[in-house]
Symmetry: D2
Subunit: 283 residues, 4 copies
Amino acid sequence: MCRWDRLLGTPVFLSQVLFQPEHSLIDQSLHSRMGVETTNGDGFGVGWYTQDMDTPAVLRDVGPAWNNRNLLEVAHHVRSGLFFAHIRASTGTAVQQTNCHPFLNGRWMFMHNGAISGFHRLRRDLALAVDQDLYLDIEGSTDSELMFFLALTFGLTEDPPGAVARMAGLVEKAGHAHDIAHPLQMTLAVADGERVWVFRYSSEGRSRSLYFSTKVDTLRALHPDAAFLRDISDETRLVVSEPLGTFPGAWNEVPESSYGIIQPGGDALHAFRPHPQGDSARS
Amino acid sequence: MCRWDRLLGTPVFLSQVLFQPEHSLIDQSLHSRMGVETTNGDGFGVGWYTQDMDTPAVLRDVGPAWNNRNLLEVAHHVRSGLFFAHIRASTGTAVQQTNCHPFLNGRWMFMHNGAISGFHRLRRDLALAVDQDLYLDIEGSTDSELMFFLALTFGLTEDPPGAVARMAGLVEKAGHAHDIAHPLQMTLAVADGERVWVFRYSSEGRSRSLYFSTKVDTLRALHPDAAFLRDISDETRLVVSEPLGTFPGAWNEVPESSYGIIQPGGDALHAFRPHPQGDSARS
Amino acid sequence: MCRWDRLLGTPVFLSQVLFQPEHSLIDQSLHSRMGVETTNGDGFGVGWYTQDMDTPAVLRDVGPAWNNRNLLEVAHHVRSGLFFAHIRASTGTAVQQTNCHPFLNGRWMFMHNGAISGFHRLRRDLALAVDQDLYLDIEGSTDSELMFFLALTFGLTEDPPGAVARMAGLVEKAGHAHDIAHPLQMTLAVADGERVWVFRYSSEGRSRSLYFSTKVDTLRALHPDAAFLRDISDETRLVVSEPLGTFPGAWNEVPESSYGIIQPGGDALHAFRPHPQGDSARS
Amino acid sequence: MCRWDRLLGTPVFLSQVLFQPEHSLIDQSLHSRMGVETTNGDGFGVGWYTQDMDTPAVLRDVGPAWNNRNLLEVAHHVRSGLFFAHIRASTGTAVQQTNCHPFLNGRWMFMHNGAISGFHRLRRDLALAVDQDLYLDIEGSTDSELMFFLALTFGLTEDPPGAVARMAGLVEKAGHAHDIAHPLQMTLAVADGERVWVFRYSSEGRSRSLYFSTKVDTLRALHPDAAFLRDISDETRLVVSEPLGTFPGAWNEVPESSYGIIQPGGDALHAFRPHPQGDSARS
């Protein structure tokens, strides 16, 4: 079980999201209210896009986020308009940097909160479905990283919703072949530097929490006196595992079995269902 | 705030105390019930005495105890009749190996749960009181390590209760000079390889919890059917921040403002009060 | 490129081999004379068998061995009659605990100095050859760990020389299929708690250095005045990447393309060649 | 013994200095040519100033720089016109983040290559000379951090050369009182975000190497065809322990017993000698 934050919009210091809010991600790492595990101390990561750079940067480490000095330094000195942050509670795999989210591949960034049930039994079958050339870049041992590489194999960079649907379909097919009733539990975020796709889905229909913030102009109308709302752009959006505070009207739950696209110009929300996998998943 | 365990008696694998009990120290690291902080993930240490060796060994690291592989390996393969274990929740000082308990000096081992109030203001005054030759061995930046070096300065290796009383008296004197009402909060354990001294004291009379286990022969009489009690010696004793389970009759609270000596042949419990410090603490 | 030590015989403190000799493994970590890389600072591991325990213990960490406090503590307080020690120089894969040698599986311990050429291209093919049930336990991303799991798949616990020959044959076959002229460079050590098998082989016939120590009774005859030789048993044997000193007559090079068995009662040295792999390697 | 780099001028990615040059700092960490120790694998740090921020950021860790992923990520994504980089070879003190350079205090940044001879004997005397309020912020156990706090005590933020001279004088006075012939060996760099002061001094007159790069306009005249010289500003200056390459005319040695000021508008080079300390160093 893990928690995460992401932001799109006016460049801000990462610390403004990670450390300052009332129920910030750092606070959640010690005392999650909605998560399956209350403590998320098995590693963390932040990934951020910067102007003039195609690829995102990532800072990951194996200790808890709450006492990490490098995270504190970077969060207070790096500004970004699109970044991911993740705190990890291991569900059994090793606590190591290569198992920390977000995962990167070129300009793509990926993070996950959830699990593949019975992953140990499915791991080899799923690994075999990864494209030969992509396989070389797998570094860790988590289900999450493998989901990323499967999605890349199935066309993530061309059609994110389709690729994730095919990945989810393959996981469910492999799980059912091993008599696992509910193979997949996933809350995903994927970005390419300009847009963010978020997915909320689980085989049993009880997915982990996922919230997005209300549009800034709507919030301004609701709270004409809130000074900080004047400093941020209309495009600023937060997607989080748990609301960062109790600002009225600010947080909306992403519905079960759906995905959203957050992008300059206008967001979109759609139904999500895994793509049933036949014998030729890649075709 | 921190939690700890110590054991004296029949050599056992460290894992029998650290990992196996119902509410083991590792479980406490995630979900302490009695501690000031519920999560103790800012480093850990185990120190153990082995036969034929004068000095104890120590394994310390900066991550949480609950996910540390080396701790798991050592705990399952090292046997000792006298060992300390400690999980740390930093109260502000750096998360680094040299700030992890237990601290060693020759054959002496020391661990602490508590804090010096306003330590930042007192730190230099207290450091000045450490013996010149001992000062060189201070490696970390915690109040706890400084308390150890002050106790060593005041004769810990000759008279542990007296040295701890003089150390506590100096801390209170320095604190009062800075208008700190309740300078000291301490639950201490000190060992020399054969005996263990434990102290429970705080300036305000509300010290952190400390328990010791009932003598094994008493427990055997209470629970004639408990098989595991037959395998351990009469001398086996546990001193813990929190009971490791709910075995009836097994746990006794150390009273406020007192100290105990656990040793082969017979334990002892005495009142403890700091030694008022005049101008010549060492005389 | 890596360096290693192993010992079989009278239980000694690990430090007597790791830290005390003139050109100890710790010294080699900073200044290897014979290795491909002069610095081996990308992690280390020690694995040791103890009496009354079926499985070995392992201590591994990602920093250099030369400054690791936990290694120093354990080496000075743990005694073993059979242990492995390894210092790592990464050839590209991540510096993480799960990539550090020795690797364990039940009572088996395995370490490697060498590399599979073009491993990135062969990785997926080799991973597919690992037994389904064993595959689940792969935690890291090195060629070495994969070689261990292939050897386990091919019967390591029943017939170590045969299993290693089949593993080496598969690596060469996969390499040749990718037009790699000399796919394998390996100096291996494998133990089951009572015996040690060591292998020196490379596809191009220029394997990395490997030495074993002369039998203690032979050394005693050569050096009747060497006091330390009186304290160790006839069975004590060292196998090392580089001699630990210049004691005359003490070190013998393992010949190219050969393997040895070190065991109570009498050692053996044999020729080694990979087992040519057809379509059904496991049969 | 340690190595370092610093840069002042046109904002560049840190990687352009740390990783790309022929004999980069990362290469020096493995194979220093001029240092006392050839391997510098006991921790590293980079500190950088960014626009719109008063205080610098720092990334420090305990492993070697050459295999650190976070350093690689930050160096390739962070741009700065003034930054410090340091690789550490411990001379005995613990390998921990708080012992890694550069050290920060407000907008001041400090790094050191050298040592106080017999530091263990002088440590307490020197610590006592640190200002009471500053003392609270000492986190590590190195001679270098203590030199920084002594310089701060003696007025570093008002008069860097004077404060460093007083610090050096105190170290020499304390050393001589303990019969240490040559107490101080220092190559220092200090910055406030706009200027950099560098010092080269040792009690015995054999200070560690220190180089600064030739002015860019001079280099342009020497090498009219060197394309990269056109992309950097006239103000760009590098100060390094060892030249980063062999570009003719690019590197000048800082003379023994001298200090330099690198600043927009014009550099300066002066003689340096410690300020003899009487009984009242701070007056």
